[in-house]
Subunit: 236 residues, 2 copies
Amino acid sequence: MKMSKTTLPNCQNCSHRTQSVFADLRKNELEELSAQKSCGFFKKGQYIFQENSRLPGVYCIHSGKIKMFRMGPEGKEQIIRFAKAGDMIGYKSILSDEPLSVSAAALDDVSVCFVPKQFLFDTLSINNMFTRKLMEVACHEIGEANKIITNLAQKTVRERLAEVLLILKETFGEDNEGFLEVKLTREEIASFVGTATESVIRLLSEFKKDGFIELKGRRIKILQANQLTIVGNVFD
Amino acid sequence: MKMSKTTLPNCQNCSHRTQSVFADLRKNELEELSAQKSCGFFKKGQYIFQENSRLPGVYCIHSGKIKMFRMGPEGKEQIIRFAKAGDMIGYKSILSDEPLSVSAAALDDVSVCFVPKQFLFDTLSINNMFTRKLMEVACHEIGEANKIITNLAQKTVRERLAEVLLILKETFGEDNEGFLEVKLTREEIASFVGTATESVIRLLSEFKKDGFIELKGRRIKILQANQLTIVGNVFD
DNA sequence: CGCGCGATTGATTCGGCTCAATAACTGTGG
DNA sequence: CCACAGTTATTGAGCCGAATCAATCGCGCG
């Protein structure tokens, strides 16, 4: 991975800044961030980092999509969540001072900024709004994880797949034709749902037959989101 | 629930303080905490709080054991984790400014201190060590949740039960006879493992037959922890 | 244009859930 | 301290969702 300071825009005028955890940074803090960060690129399929390792900082995603996953006991990937432009990844390991609990891999070509952990700690100690924002993001994620745990334990594969489709729509949005703006293999979908690839395939074609979705190769279009919320027992 | 300021010791000389998130509070901060907190008691079985509600602060557990759980789509409890003396609960909802994502209920008689959220926010803004500690705890919990998600998706019930027994030992310890220092119904164990009550019962008696554990009514003694780690595919 | 991975479909197996019937235990009040 | 009532635990039988295994298809890419 090449790292440089010039390939991506300064943090001050980064288009993702206002939606990111850095939204509340002051002018001089942003300048410092720009000065300390470096940039990197990952091709589709490459690992950004691997679980159990440690990083000297965090990544801010400038463009591209990323899957966060853990290896199960038989070496099978379990996708925990996705990340996209504007998200910061790898920070939990820094803040809890533990090795990474997940790996991250690029779903398409990805460009990132790397922020040294010292910048985080420095900013945490002087900018309360930043602290609050970071806590908010972290604590929100715990709530999401609690929901996933309950779903995995209690819902059927059919229900979980319906919900996953809605999550993908929510997370990545749709292109101008209405297809989900993310390209995943059936195996990756299965890994996120927590089931076998064949089960995903069978249920997808069932949803297609029911008119809930349209399939075009690897691309998925959601036709009846409301039906999926019903099938998936999705309340919130 | 009765609330008073005198029933429990001051925070300064609370025996759990040094292991809690309040370990790094300064003298005057501890005095302020003592002044602002109130105390409460819950009988076994009572709810401390319910998911989707909001609290004006957080609870510190002074004594007793608590289950944290979520209601699944069919109204079935999913136990996410346990909490015990020294733990702070309910803070994630405060910090993410969202309704609670879990409920909490007393597993035995519980006494708690209630800390208004303003104290938390005030202390976050002036005590960096407290901030770091709180972040550390929250981020650690995310890592744990990631592990649980992977286990639920990929391990068998047998493996998960073996691991749960070890988690219970780790969390609550053993009494002088070697029995787990927590009294759970089979249904609660099942709810934590993410399976049916009958499956827990069958597998427990299997573990007993294999000599891994001893059962005495509701009480469980772990005889061969190492065998359980093998059966449960527990690496860390 | 062919190679190879990913997708699909079918057949079969099986872990684990549900339902049902006792048995054992907990704790409660007399 | 005992009896009773209501839980909770146990065990068995049967079923079903979903995993696995096997084979073929088809698209994307070099």
